[in-house]
């Protein structure tokens, strides 16, 4: 096998020939060519990565004090809050970190939807992203069970019970998940083990996500390929400094929550110790699950609801084959753009009805919103791929940046 030569000298050269740390950093972090027109929406990937690290560090520190036993869990969390030095800070960082993680990742996903980042040649990159989302959801769901409050307990009961909707094997699946015949101590300890494990699985998928990203580099707001060196700038210092700035803004929001409204996004009932004999008036999941919860409850049939809910995430996997339009960015797809924004608003509507009781007008709203969720992906996307005529694309990133300066292109140029 041939030794890859490098331009280093001395120790650096010796090391790099044996373990390419220096050239790796150079290829992937410093010299790594990046489109020069990325907007602030491209900050959210690095923010998600940083949040993951924060979650793992705070999580491990919490785990040193936490007790995964149904008699002790609630009090062990309160002991962290009251008696462990800076324990309240750790816990609030972890708790609000989970909220921020979902905010960041959802923005990251909408960015991808808007700019067509899932299209060739980035299909696998996109699918790895959806895998991360699934793992995050599982992790957060199980993490929320750990403090063993009322919502922990009843959320776990409602969600695990969903599997009983499957014919024949349903009941056995639920017993298997619980490790018994109700949500109880065995459920809590297995959830803790998995909650500790899954974040490391996420790290693995994130690495693959980045490998896939670096095959073809970032997409960009114009959605056109990089054509020449004039279109790119080295990642360092341009995007490192931009990411640092983004991180600063992110931390203001995140730590603002932690220090001044640490329970703003959480449900008060979770400060009541779990009680299997008292059902809360409304069992609601954390906000980041609400749109999916709304889809689940939109249909009267339990099995259909469960299947629809899972399809709502599954449909993202096949997105690259539903939207086959050649133009990536919505900037050049006037019709797609409108349907996209409608979809965006629709997600908030779903989230809102998800928090409402499933009765009266809310059921109707949730059905309409659920219908649009799927129609957007399964009908509108394929149809637009066929019939939408995109606007004329700029010839290159560099030329577009220039013409932007002199005239307000590219908006006036509708293609035939």
């Amino acid at each position: 096998m041939q030794v890859k030569s490098n331009n280093y000298t001395g120790v650096k050269k010796w090391v790099d020939e044996r373990l390419p740390v220096f050239s790796f950093v150079e290829d992937n972090l410093t010299n790594y060519p990046t489109p020069k027109n990325l907007s602030y929406f491209w900050n959210f990937g690095s923010l998600a990565g940083i949040t993951l690290v924060i979650m793992i560090v705070t999580g491990i520190l919490l785990a040193m004090q936490y007790t995964a036993n149904s008699d002790l869990a609630f009090d062990s969390v309160e002991r962290i809050m009251r008696d462990v030095n800076n324990g309240w800070l750790l816990r609030y960082l972890h708790m609000n970190g989970a909220h921020m993680f979902f905010i960041v990742v959802y923005i990251h996903i909408f960015r991808g939807l808007y700019y067509g980042s899932y299209k060739s040649p980035r299909e696998i990159l996109w699918m790895l992203g959806v895998t991360i989302l699934l793992l995050m959801m599982a992790t957060a769901f199980m993490g929320y069970v750990l403090p063993w409050g009322q919502m922990s307990f009843w959320g776990a009961t409602v969600i695990t019970n969903l599997f009983s909707a499957f014919p024949i094997i349903g009941e056995s699946i639920v017993t298997f998940l619980w490790g018994g015949f109700s949500v109880d101590n065995p459920t809590l300890s297995r959830f803790f083990v998995l909650h500790y494990l899954l974040p490391f699985a996420i790290v693995g998928v994130v690495v693959l996500h980045i490998v896939a990203l670096h095959m073809h580099g970032s997409n960009n707001p114009l959605g056109i390929d990089v054509k020449s060196d004039g279109d790119t700038i080295p990642f360092h210092p341009y995007y490192t400094v931009k990411d640092y700035y983004g991180l600063g803004v992110f931390l203001i929001f995140y730590l603002g929550l932690v220090f001044f409204a640490p329970n703003f996004l959480g449900h008060p009932d979770n400060y009541i110790p779990a009680d299997p004999l008292v059902t809360p008036a409304h069992i609601v999941p954390e906000w980041y699950f609400l749109p999916f919860y709304a889809i689940l409850r939109a249909v009267p049939d339990k099995l259909m609801g469960v299947l629809l809910m899972f399809s709502a995430v599954a449909v993202l996997f096949i997105l690259p084959w539903l939207d086959t339009h050649k133009v990536r960015s919505s900037q050049f797809r006037p019709y797609y753009k409108q349907f996209f924004w409608l979809f965006f608003v629709n997600c908030f509507v779903l989230g809102w009805v998800g928090a409402m009781p499933a009765e009266g007008i809310y059921v109707t709203i949730s059905r309409i919103a659920t219908a649009y969720y799927f129609i957007f992906f399964l009908v509108i996307m394929p149809l637009l791929s066929k019939f939408e005529k995109g606007r004329v694309l700029p010839s290159s990133i560099a030329s577009s940046v220039l013409s932007d300066k002199f005239e307000s292109a590219p908006d006036q140029s509708f293609a035939k």
Partner: protein
């Protein structure tokens, strides 16, 4: 663009006023101003001490605060000796001793408050089948927080004519279902404050609510004072990073 950002950040922080996402729509609560609200809000020690007195003289007959240790009372301004003597008013079961016997002893500052009942069943048996919950976390455990507690304690009204009140229940406009198993616990002048503050019903309720806000979030003072410094630092750092970013990107086009 920068102005826009600052505007969003301000709106974001101002919206914190409504303590919780899930408490929106609790319109029937009359909002109160609390000294511990907002960025610079802190607990008022003398109010906490009065609230503690109310808790001990009124609520402790039926409710525990099992997550609070006696030594935590230092935050209310009590000295070590005060705390020792407060603790020694409580007896707790300990053991086994060298002979294998359980025994009772006076509480130490490191012990937690002992509730009025040995267990849930005794609590229910003494309260017509209703369970008076532990109050350590009550302010965090109800949508509306301190406002809820304030309104609840003030919520006892004349029973309207055609309202069907169940046996052993009391009419309360704030409690879900408008009837609660807790008799109105607070009236004018039912405590005599050690610091001679006039003990109107409103004053007593305010003080005990503040005290229970403290038992729910004993870290609040420390959290907010660190928080102010952290955010100030972050604002400056972020502004600086923005300037550096502008400078580095100056000649990209």
């Amino acid at each position: 663009m920068k102005i826009g950002f600052i505007k969003y950040i301000l709106i974001f922080f101002l919206s914190f006023h409504s303590i919780n996402l899930y408490s929106a729509g609790k319109a029937d609560l009359v909002e109160q101003k609390w000294p511990f609200d907002g960025f610079f809000g802190r607990f008022d020690q003398s109010s906490l001490q009065r609230g503690f007195q109310v808790y001990r003289e009124v609520c402790a007959g039926c409710h525990g605060i099992r997550l609070v240790s006696f030594r935590d009372l230092a935050a209310l301004g009590y000295t070590n000796d005060d705390i020792k003597s407060i603790a020694s008013e409580y007896e707790i079961e300990d053991g086994p001793n060298d002979e294998g016997e359980m025994f009772t002893r006076f509480a130490k500052p490191s012990d937690k408050f002992v509730g009025p009942y040995r267990n849930k069943n005794e609590a229910r048996a003494s309260n017509n089948g209703s369970y008076p919950p532990d109050l350590s976390l009550i302010v965090k455990a109800r949508a509306g927080g301190a406002d809820y507690l304030y309104n609840l304690l003030n919520g006892y009204k004349e029973v309207p004519e055609n309202f069907r009140l169940n046996d052993g229940m009391y009419y309360n406009t704030i409690y879900p279902g408008k009837q609660i198993a807790m008799p109105q616990p607070i009236y004018d002048d039912m405590v005599e404050y050690e610091d001679n503050t006039p003990a109107s019903q409103d004053q007593i309720i305010r003080d005990v609510t503040s005290f229970l806000a403290w038992t729910a979030e004993p870290e609040l003072d420390e959290r907010k004072s660190i928080g102010v410094r952290v955010l100030l630092f972050l604002f400056l750092l972020t502004l600086m990073l923005y300037a550096v970013k502008r400078k580095i990107w100056r000649d990209v086009e």
